[in-house]
């Protein structure tokens, strides 16, 4: 069934645009143009994070941490292969896309691990980044309980994601 979701949505969108007499081609081109600028903006961040992650990996720190945390992860039902993603996700959006990509390459895009990773990406956010950027233009210095609540929700989401991918 899920195969049909996207094509149907797209058709509805195009039909609606034609009904509203919007020049679909021009607007599509305009939107697509923004992609280049966006990628140029995020490339430095992706590069830096991937370099840092690569160093962490070859130096063995990652596997050390994974080993350390895997009993906890196992207890929560999270595959230890996802350790890196779960730990980095709250800090960097572009970097976690890099990790997602390497999970795809290592385990295959349709494996259980990859599907879990996808759902985790979908249900969580770069909490620290969002919080920093959002309050950057205000006078707020104390976020009180915002971060802990967000982190708890992310963790619950991760556990749920791993459970749901087992059955769906």
């Amino acid at each position: 069934m899920s195969i049909y979701i996207l094509p149907i949505l797209f058709i509805v969108l195009f039909v609606y645009c034609i009904y509203k007499r919007i020049n679909t081609y021009d607007h599509f081109v305009k939107g697509a143009k923004g992609a280049i600028k966006l990628v140029v903006d995020i490339f430095p961040f992706i590069a830096s994070i991937l370099v840092a992650v690569a160093l962490l990996r070859v130096s063995g720190i990652t596997s050390f941490l994974t080993n350390l945390l895997s009993p906890i992860f196992n207890l929560l039902g999270i595959p230890p292969e996802l350790c890196e993603l779960v730990m980095l996700r709250p800090f960097t959006g572009s970097g976690s896309y890099g990790i997602l990509e390497s999970i795809f390459n290592t385990y295959g895009a349709d494996s259980y691990i990859s599907r879990c990773a996808c759902v985790i990406m979908g249900c969580s956010e770069t909490i620290f980044y969002v919080a920093t950027v959002y309050i950057s233009q205000t006078k707020v210095k104390k976020l009180l309980y915002a971060i802990p609540v967000a982190l708890i929700c992310s963790l619950v989401g991760t556990i749920l994601a791993c459970l749901i991918c087992k059955v769906m």
Binding site: S2, L6, A47, A52, C118, V119, C123, E125, Q137, V140
Partner: protein, 184 residues
Amino acid sequence: MLGSMLVLLITNPSAVLSEMLGASADALKLCIELCAVYAVWMGLIELVDASGLSEKLAKLLRPLIKKIFKIEDKETQKLIAINVSANMLGIGNAATPLGIKAMQALDDKSGKANFAMIMLIVVNATSIQLLPTTVIGLRASAGSANPADIIIPTLIVTFCTTVLGIFLVHQIDKLKRRKEEKKR
């Protein structure tokens, strides 16, 4: 980063530069893929925007937002509504500028985050997503047979976490108020 370099200095000094360059090349490859993914989605999202569908979605969400955030100001409600709907469509980058504006409107200059501000951060952090666009795109280019089959699980999980987030913030707020009343 420094830590791992120090470890490598002892274990495998020749790997440092080659690993860094390799990772950077991977980043470039990923960015080219992302560029293709973004081009398609941003083109489509531009259509959603131009056709007035995003405004409609925002309007639809407004009563709900009024209830969750407990705010009366119409302009702020609209900002939050568009911010949330951009998140729903998986365009976090479009949501950010609106989120910043909404935060400024909510700021009471006390230096502490108030209820609505905390709620906005939590709702953004749990990110209600209808369409995880980038993830689907990347998965398709990694050769998945059915890249969209994660939509429904994502929907279920993201719905649960968002409800949990809203519930927790409301509960903590209630507890805090009770404490303050007791002090008086």
